[in-house]
Structures are given as C-alpha cells and as structure tokens.
Point group: C2
Chain length 220, copies 2
C-alpha cells in the first residue's frame, strides 16, 4: 500500500466561503503539476451535469481540467485511464450503490493502491474511501449491495463530525452516541471523527491531519 | 387493513421529562383495559436487559405487564401469542436486521393487519412500522438484508423531525434536504416528518395527529 496518496476532506464547503475554498491550497499541493486532468465522480448528487459544472469551474481556477465520469462512454475505462480521481460529496448511499452498479469499487481500489493514482474525496467521497460506509451521517435513500467501501485506509471516518451542543433540546442521538453504537457491534474498526474544516493527507503509511478544526479518534 | 390499530411515537423521551412521560396518557387510551400484557421488542439497543427493565417499570406504572421478546424461547411464537406489541427506539438498522434475523417482519405484519393486535412504536419502532427505513436518521451500523420494513402504513415517517436552524454554521444537509434527496429517487412514497412531541394514532384507515408539535408532510 506504499503508493497510496489520498486527500480526504470532511466537507466541500465551509460556512461563509465558496465550494472547496477552505482546502484549495491543499488541493494544489496534493495534485502536483504532473497532473493535468482530474476524473470527477458526481454520483452522490442527483443532478450530475450541474455538479460537474460546479466542480469543473472550481478546478479550472486551480489550474486543472476536469472530466466527469458520467460523460464517459465507459466508466471503468475512464478510471483505468485517469491521472487523478476526485469523488465529490452528497448522499453516501447513492454514491456507493452507483459505484457498485458501474463495477468501479475494485477498479478504483486497484488504481489507487497499485498504480498510485492520487485520490481526493470530500464528505461522501471521503466515506467511500474507508473500510465501510457504516459511519456516514446520510439518509439511506437507496439500498446498496453492501456497506463495504473502497477500503483505501484501514479505518472508518465520520465526516462533518459534530461535537455535542449542551444547550440542545433535541433528543436524537448525538454523533458520539451514534459512533458508540457502531462500536457495540462486533469487529468494528476505529472511527475518525473529522470536523468540518479538517482534512487528512495520506501518503503511503503516513497520515497527516490538516486544516484548523482537528479530529477525534474513537476506538472500540 | 381495517383492523389496524397503531400508535406511532416520534421520540421516547421529550427534553426535560422521563421515559415515555410525554405520551403516557395516549398510551393508556391506546392499550385499552382489555390488554393486560404488552410484548416489548428491545432489539434497537445493545443492552436488551437494561432496556426491558426501563420499559417494564414504566409500563407497570401505567397498569400493564410487559414481556420482552428477547427473554422468550421462541420469538415468533411470542408474536403469535401477543395481546399487544411495543417496539422501542434505538438504532433502526440494528432493529430491522434483528427483526429479519428472527423471521418477525411478516409475522408482526400479519398479527397487526389481520388479527388487529395493537402496535405501538417509538422512534426506530415507528420507522420499522412504515414502508421502509429509507428515511431514518440513524447511522447504518449494521447491514440489514433489505430496507423494506413491516409496512403497516402506506407512507414513510421521519421521526425526530427537525426544522432547519437558520443560525447554524454546520454544513451537513438539513433534514429537509435529506428527505428531498430521497424524493429524487424513483417510486418513493410520501414522508411524514414527525417532530419530537408528536405521535400518530392510526385506526383502520383513519389517521390522527396527536401531541403538541405537529408534523410536516413531504410529497415527491
């Protein structure tokens, strides 16, 4: 797994700023000047055309061309030829189901772990980079064939991690309680609660926490 | 479906009060004096003994004995013999998986719709009473064989429904956005956003909204 090169972002948009603004310097350091074109996966949102347009415009301002996989005649071939991959946020269940429906889970894993293709994920795109989507916050709007994900790192992530607000009168479970429930089940991996504004840079076996808000690690 | 008799509660505990306190008068009107014993399903929480103890103590103060299905030698027989059923809250995925694992989904449906056994659900227990768990808020900590649920009503419910807080700086999807994402998918049913403090009384084809906080209906 030494070729692995990942940038896993908690959230695409930070309150008060534009799409990917808060992490744009990290994106430019991550996709070095060798990368000209990034393959974008818009499956997590319903309107793929609009999503690709937003991502393409942002990436152009950073100096990269963006191809959206939903415009490719064959998605597997698009992954095989990709210089770099970016999976955007939205609904994690819809995203993972669509990755399975298009036979992309194994192909992306192979490209990233064996060929060293740089992988950037944001929110749902970060969830699917981990062992499983068992720690997503999203609503299960569709039924994927499995919760197992691409497995680029040996732990799970909870993006948009939210600390408990002691003034809240809402009685739904806190994020901490939900992750604790996950750890009540057998054989569950560690979970990194990645607060909005945080991101993870993985190079080989080195993991570095970037951003300003830090993260919280939950062990079974 | 004319025998159907359901009490579907959004949340087990309202801020500032004890377990089921906010709906206890409705519970007593719902389980008439003909009911002596209620069959409790504690599958949504990990510690079933502790959960059954809490529920048993509360139901005793209301004048009902409570049998927990996890103490029965055969869960299906317990459902076949039940005078009344109460499925408590917790994690909806864990609950539904366990209902499938014990062959209870069809059996509970039959008892409620054909035999007129009164069914009370709270939170996750309300989710599994609907068409599917596609509109739960819970974390997908285990993988059930399907998201299809018991199907006692022809719509879905989102319990603990939460209105958007315009002062929030958190960038995760609002509840409204999540339900809208559900309705972007094909063939999705209506969703009733049931605020904490609200409950639904279903008798035959009549549905009545009880409680103080009202609900919000989402149509595709």
């Amino acid at each position: 797994m030494n070729k692995r090169k990942l940038l896993l972002v908690s959230n695409s948009t930070l309150h008060g700023s534009g799409y990917l603004d808060h992490c744009q310097n990290h994106i430019c350091s991550f996709f070095t000047r060798d990368v000209k074109r990034v393959l974008f996966v818009p499956y997590a949102l319903h309107d793929r055309d609009a999503y690709a347009k937003t991502a393409r415009e942002k990436f152009r301002t950073l100096g990269y061309e963006l191809d959206s996989i939903h415009e490719a005649s064959d998605p597997v071939t698009a992954v095989r030829n990709a210089e770099a991959i970016f999976i955007g946020g939205g609904n994690t269940f819809r995203l993972l189901k669509c990755l399975y429906d298009n036979d992309l889970v194994t192909e992306i894993r192979r490209r990233v772990l064996e060929d060293g293709v740089p992988y950037m994920g944001s929110s749902a795109g970060t969830n699917v980079a981990t062992i499983s989507i068992n720690t997503t916050n999203d609503m299960p709007i569709v039924f994927p064939p499995s919760f197992s994900a691409i497995g680029l790192v040996p732990f799970n992530i909870n993006p948009h991690y939210l600390d408990h607000d002691p003034s809240s009168r809402h009685m739904g479970e806190t994020r901490e309680q939900r992750i604790t429930q996950f750890h009540e089940e057998a054989e569950t991996p560690r979970v990194l609660g990645l607060r909005e504004g945080s991101l993870l840079l993985v190079e080989g076996n080195n993991v570095k926490l970037l951003g300003t808000t830090k993260a919280r690690l939950f062990t079974r």
